[in-house]
């Protein structure tokens, strides 16, 4: 009569243990690689997102790649299409605000707000680069006081959102 044991044979137990070890080592290596990827990428590519005021007040930011946001002054926009050079000025908008459209308008109406000259090279002029647009720029402040941007993003909230009709005739169409 055959002897049947419910205990797992030794070689199978050992095999299961070694597979588990393989899973643990494999999993650990993958996790470590992903964490390394995220940490090294973040350390290399991280940029402070600051206001024009922060940039101008703190000398430590000069020459460092940072991201800034400001209100575009439409009258200062110059575009040299032949050489693809865009120049304009942005005005400081505070870090915290309730309504972007009003914050942009208020910033441009404030003569005391700090201003920054922007230079963007080798870029096609974006359609949204207009007065009262919010410019989000990545680049560095050069010693000549001009911010050389390598990336330019724009938002025009006042054009399409949250506005109301002004100068309406009070003559009612119906009551």
């Amino acid at each position: 009569m055959a002897v049947v044991s419910w205990a797992k044979p030794k070689h199978l137990r050992k095999r299961k243990g070694s597979e588990r070890l393989k899973f643990l080592i494999g999993g650990g290596l993958i996790l470590a690689s992903v964490v390394y990827l995220l940490v090294s990428g973040t350390l290399q590519g991280a940029r402070y997102f600051i206001t024009v005021d922060d940039l101008l007040k703190d000398g430590a930011y000069e020459g460092k790649t940072v991201r800034i946001s400001g209100a575009v002054d439409g009258e200062t926009i110059e575009y040299d299409s032949e050489n693809a050079i865009i120049r304009f000025e942005i005005v400081n908008i505070p870090g915290e605000f309730d309504d972007l459209a009003s914050a942009l308008r208020a910033a441009l109406a404030n003569p005391a707000a700090s201003r920054l000259s922007i230079l963007v090279e080798d870029e096609a002029i974006p359609d949204l680069l207009q007065h009262e647009a919010q410019a989000i720029l990545t680049g560095a402040l050069a010693p000549d006081g001009i911010f050389r941007a390598s990336e330019l993003l724009l938002k025009c909230p006042s054009r399409f959102e949250e506005t109301s009709p002004e100068g309406l005739s009070a003559i009612p169409e119906h009551n």
């Binding site: 993958i30 992903v34 724009l154 959102e161």
Partner: protein, 687 residues
């Protein structure tokens, strides 16, 4: 009238949704079939009620009811009819209503298809779907009402200021229609594009669609019915949502490529990333759910993925719609930020608590254990790890890092596109390699020898392709690695289809066409999956080609002058100013594209002057090999400046997208027709 019927139907839909949720929960508690049916019927009725509200807004848009402030803000008298219609999702208020409409439609579909088959889950699922619908309807009714109108209050006729109110203020008068029409803002010109007609609905169908799998998961957790029923219902709804989200993402890329004028289609903007995140988790779920179906494993993990997908949709909507994240695409800052954050947190918390409860009770324990490192289930888990790592990296860069740095350092820290690429390129290469290896390994256990044998032919083909690329002059290591991984995944998919068809061709003596058709028909999920993999391969080839090998130059040309760029020539022929039917002035440059001295195309890049902004429209000559893509930067009849891009293989991104959709439709389609046939046969038998 429209402004009265609209909010009334919205309110009715809200009441129905609330009633349905409560009736279903009470019905479960009391075990009352009558209450459950009543809840179900109320849930079904939310669709016609929301449809009526949406129809009122569409009617208002089409008939130029400018007193309704939404109509005033997204259309003007010059807006063409098609964009009047698409203005429904052109801005926050309309798109929230549209979201509710789609959610009520999905709920209608889920009840119609699953009420009989998933009787135990449906009351919980309906309660979840209705809670979600009630939330969005509540937002539309209370905070972002698309039916608000402009009014002049009795005490301010002289100031000529207007106020926006849903209900008529006492003694208020309506502003004159012609004045409202004259000052109407019109749809953002950037949204006047074919891609924008169908991109948002597809994206929303994807987002909203993920509510249904979430509802079923929550129903399974709440009811304790954790058998395969919820998985079957969830898998198909996930695939449906996934198809739409994939289509939405691809169309969004196409719109950016055509309209935004920077020669690219993905900018790693937080809003784009917010749409990509649920896709990543959803894709992980579509794969890992197979392990649960085949091996009864990863039950907790699958639940977590369904919850994470819905949670990612809600978080993305919050980030985009609240205006808290700086993005070129985001909506204006609005009051819905906090409610959306609260709703997201509440739903996620409820789901995670239920998950933890069931897990603690041991009801989600796997039926098998991972036994072999080369088994298909291990490969699928690895695939999940890659997707979750991609999710973590993109979430970290888009939201985690900016939010945490702001909270703890007092200054926001962000990363740019280059860092996102640094994160995702190695992960995508790993994903493509796994796409190749996983289908060849077996469930349970695979020996290295057997796997190696199966991999031999695709590997040889991959090495040959890579050698050909090197001989052709491809030097960049990242592109060689990338193409190697992408080709490998594609060859495996093709080889597997070929192997299956060959077996039928030899064994059953079928001709090749019949063998392939029968193969797909017999196992639509598996072979549909291979077609999806082929689509992803084609997209991968297109992405590497159009990013690594893109040429970008700028030239100023005198009229009649020709310049050479690579093997292309570009001649500036003329400059025309013309007025379009909607009143905008168009500045059009006429150019001739030459190749090896012969004229191959005439293109017309242009700049349209809208009242508020110009809009640059590229002129492109598309071939299989590349896109010759030209932007007009400025100039006059005598001289004009152009930015020229040569984007190799970019069209493969769109064509690959089509293949991917076809594959998903094949994979999602099975069993519906047979089930109907069986029912029909049963009905005939009973007669």
């Amino acid at each position: 009238m429209l402004a009265e019927i609209g909010p009334a139907s919205l309110a009715l839909a809200l009441l129905l949704a609330l009633y349905a949720a409560v009736a279903c929960l009470l019905g479960i508690g009391a075990g009352s079939e009558t209450l459950l049916r009543s809840g179900r019927n109320a849930a079904l009725l939310t669709f016609p009620a929301t449809l009526l509200a949406t129809a009122m807004l569409v009617l208002a848009l089409m008939t130029e009811q400018y007193q309704i402030s939404y109509v005033w803000s997204v259309t003007d008298p010059q807006t063409p009819a098609i964009y009047r219609f698409t203005a429904l999702w052109g801005s926050q208020r309309g798109s929230l209503l549209f979201w509710s409409l789609l959610l009520s439609l999905f709920t209608f579909g889920a009840i119609a298809l699953n009420w009989r088959s998933e009787g135990r889950l449906m009351p919980y699922a309906i309660a979840t779907m209705m809670a979600s619908l009630a939330f969005f309807l509540g937002l539309s009714l209370l905070l972002e009402n698309p039916f608000e109108r402009w009014w002049i209050l009795p005490d301010m006729p002289e100031s000529r200021q207007v106020v926006e109110r849903a209900l008529i203020p006492a003694g208020a008068i309506a502003p004159a229609r012609e004045n409202l029409a004259a000052s109407a803002t019109g749809l953002n010109p950037l949204l006047r594009h074919f891609g924008m007609i169908i991109h948002p609905p597809m994206l929303y169908l994807g987002f909203v669609g993920f509510t249904i799998p979430f509802a079923f998961a929550l129903a399974a957790l709440a009811s304790g019915d954790l058998s395969t029923g919820w998985i079957q219902a969830t898998r198909r709804w996930t695939l449906i949502a996934w198809i739409f989200l994939s289509l939405g993402l691809i169309l969004g890329g196409r719109w950016a490529y055509d309209v935004l004028g920077w020669g690219g289609y993905w900018g790693w903007d937080p809003v784009e990333n917010a749409a990509f995140l649920p896709w990543l988790v959803g894709t992980a779920f579509i794969h890992s759910v197979m392990i649960q179906e085949k091996r009864g494993m990863l039950k907790t993990w699958n639940m977590a993925l369904v919850i994470a997908t819905f949670s990612a949709v809600m978080f993305g909507s919050f980030a985009t719609r609240s205006g808290v994240i700086e993005s070129v695409h985001s909506f204006a800052r609005s009051e819905i930020g906090f409610p959306m954050l609260a709703f997201w947190a509440l739903m996620t918390l409820i789901a995670l608590t239920l998950l933890l409860w069931r897990w603690q009770r041991g009801e989600l324990r796997g039926e098998q254990q991972f036994a072999n490192i080369l088994s298909r289930e291990t490969m699928f888990v690895l695939n999940n790890v890659i997707f979750i790592a991609l999710f973590a990296a993109i979430f970290w860069g888009s939201f985690g890092l900016p939010i945490i740095s702001e909270l703890f350092m007092g200054v926001e820290v962000t990363i740019g596109p280059a860092t996102f690429e640094f994160f995702v390129v190695p992960l995508f290469i790993a994903m493509y390699i796994l796409m190749g290896v996983a289908p060849l390994s077996a469930w349970g256990a695979t020996s290295a020898r057997r796997l190696g044998k199966a991999l031999a032919i695709p590997l040889v083909l991959t090495v040959l392709s890579v050698l050909l690329l090197i001989i052709a002059g491809t030097g960049a290591l990242v592109s060689i690695l990338g193409y190697g991984a992408v080709c490998f995944a594609g060859y495996v998919a093709l080889f597997e289809i070929y192997r299956g068809a060959r077996a039928r061709h030899r064994g059953l003596n079928e001709n090749w066409l019949r063998a392939v058709t029968a193969l797909f028909r017999r196992n639509q999920r598996r072979y549909g999956g291979y077609v999806v993999h082929l689509g992803v391969t084609v997209i991968g080839i297109g992405i590497i080609g159009s990013t690594v090998f893109q040429t970008e130059v700028q030239h100023s040309l005198a009229r009649g002058e020709t310049i050479a760029i690579k093997d292309y020539g570009l001649r500036y022929d003329d400059y025309i100013r013309a007025q379009a039917v909607d009143g905008r002035m168009m500045n059009i440059a006429e150019l001739t594209v030459l190749r090896q001295g012969a004229q191959v195309a005439r293109i017309r890049p242009r700049v349209d002057d809208y009242p508020d902004m110009p809009m640059t429209i590229a002129g492109a000559h598309s071939t299989f090999e590349n896109d010759f893509y030209v932007l007009l930067l400025g100039g006059n009849r005598e001289r004009a400046t152009f930015r020229i891009y040569i984007n190799p293989l970019v069209n493969l991104v769109w064509w690959g997208g089509i293949v991917l959709i076809i594959g998903t439709v094949i994979a999602a389609y099975p069993k519906v027709i047979p089930a109907r046939r069986v029912r029909k046969r049963e009905a005939e038998d009973s007669r």
